[in-house]
């Protein structure tokens, strides 16, 4: 097996003293789709936030590409720019859909025309072509979810972390999006997918990790 993309070693995360995650050893291979399953409160979102470098573990080590992660500063930002999380309840900025989808590109210094082009392509991918000028926070639930997905896809990240991406999507969009995800590994993108839509997840994933009470289930 090649060098894993993420390696967790003895990672523990507590909230108010309560253990939410405790993973002795877990690796994620590059270029694969891994599904993470488990009941509510198992620690799936917590795991994704740690992998997204948004939450620091209280204990243990997280290696990315075999390397320790910087604690802060420009290097951490550089790592974060390879990874993108679509959160379980994604937040859309109070701005146009276009601006939301182009936000990450703007941060990366991409020129305006290129940004517009990429944003439009990402919106088309999720079936929201033409939604650019609409105010993001006034969309329907499924439309918002799709904007969040487009916003992540537009970045063409090395790692895509998806937390319940199918929630609120209509059946047709879910199917479309399933095809999009399935195609990502071929483009070199590693996907880690949390979903209660078990069938969909199992269809997509090369590997399934099950969490229970913050720990890996046997």
């Amino acid at each position: 097996m090649p060098e894993p993309l993420f390696s967790l070693r003895g990672v523990v995360k507590r909230f108010q003293g309560q253990e939410a995650l405790n993973i002795a050893r877990l690796d994620f291979a590059a270029g694969q789709i891994t599904a993470v399953e488990g009941p509510n409160g198992a620690g799936k979102t917590t795991l994704l936030q740690i992998l997204a470098l948004l939450l620091a573990p209280d204990q243990g080590r997280l290696l990315y590409g075999g390397q320790e992660l910087p604690h802060a500063g420009a290097q951490l930002t550089a790592r974060r720019r390879e990874i993108t999380l679509v959160a379980q309840q994604a937040y859309l900025f109070d701005a146009s859909v276009q601006r939301n989808v182009a936000y990450g590109l703007r941060l990366r210094g991409m020129r305006r025309e290129e940004r517009a082009q990429r944003a439009a392509a990402a919106l088309a991918q999720v079936g929201l072509a033409g939604f650019g000028p609409r105010r993001a926070r006034r969309l329907s639930g499924g439309e918002m979810q799709r904007v969040a997905l487009a916003r992540a896809l537009a970045l063409k990240p090395r790692v895509l972390l998806l937390d319940e991406p199918f929630a609120n999507l209509d059946t047709e969009s879910a199917a479309v999006f399933e095809r999009v995800i399935a195609g990502l590994p071929a483009e070199g993108c590693t996907v880690i997918l949390v979903s209660h839509a078990r069938e969909q997840a199992r269809r997509l994933a090369q590997r399934v990790v099950v969490l229970e009470n913050g720990r890996l289930a046997a």
Binding site: A72, A74, Y91, F93
Partner: protein, 230 residues
Amino acid sequence: MDFFVGGVARGLRLLASLDPEVYGIAWLSLRVSLSAVILAALAAVPLGLLIGQNEFPGKRLLVVVFNTLLALPTVVVGLVIYGLLSHRGPLGGLELLYTPAAMILAQAVLAFPLITALVLAAVTTLDSRVAHTALTLGATRAQAAWAVLAEARFAVLAALAAGFGRVITEVGAAIMVGGNIRHYTRTFTTAIALETSKGDFAQGMALGIFLLVLALAVNLATHHLQMRWR
């Protein structure tokens, strides 16, 4: 009440008159108070964000302290700055006493806790997911902070407007460290204080109306800024 109606009319006539003395006062008031707010905001906005976005022991106490500093009397600020800048004070060598620079300093000190407390409140009331969203889309810490401000822009601008209102209307600090010197450190409020002490209430009202028109212009400008923020 005659001075009231008369004062309003006179205020509007004053606006139209282009009287260089009054316009000099207006320009000084604007310059001093805007500079003070900008100076204060440069420290207060980041500080308010920092306190609001992080959890740490003593945070609540700090919030209470800032809310208390809202009750910092202008005269006391004036006295302290006066004490610092007085010839006998530690910074006397700078020769800043009775200059516009001294007024800017005093007013910035006044605006600082107000802007901090209000930005803090704005950020605390905001949806907590904003910073994480910006970060995962590739923002640096500073860019994420900016995203938070942008989402709370309405309240952040209200905080700045409150800071501006606080300093452009205050008279205690301005008169203490500025000295209300004609053609040099006389602002709207010190001029109003002078006119009312002379018994010319109508002129006091007139200057007040002028000041409000000026504030309206500033707020309209800020409003346009807000509309274009995103």
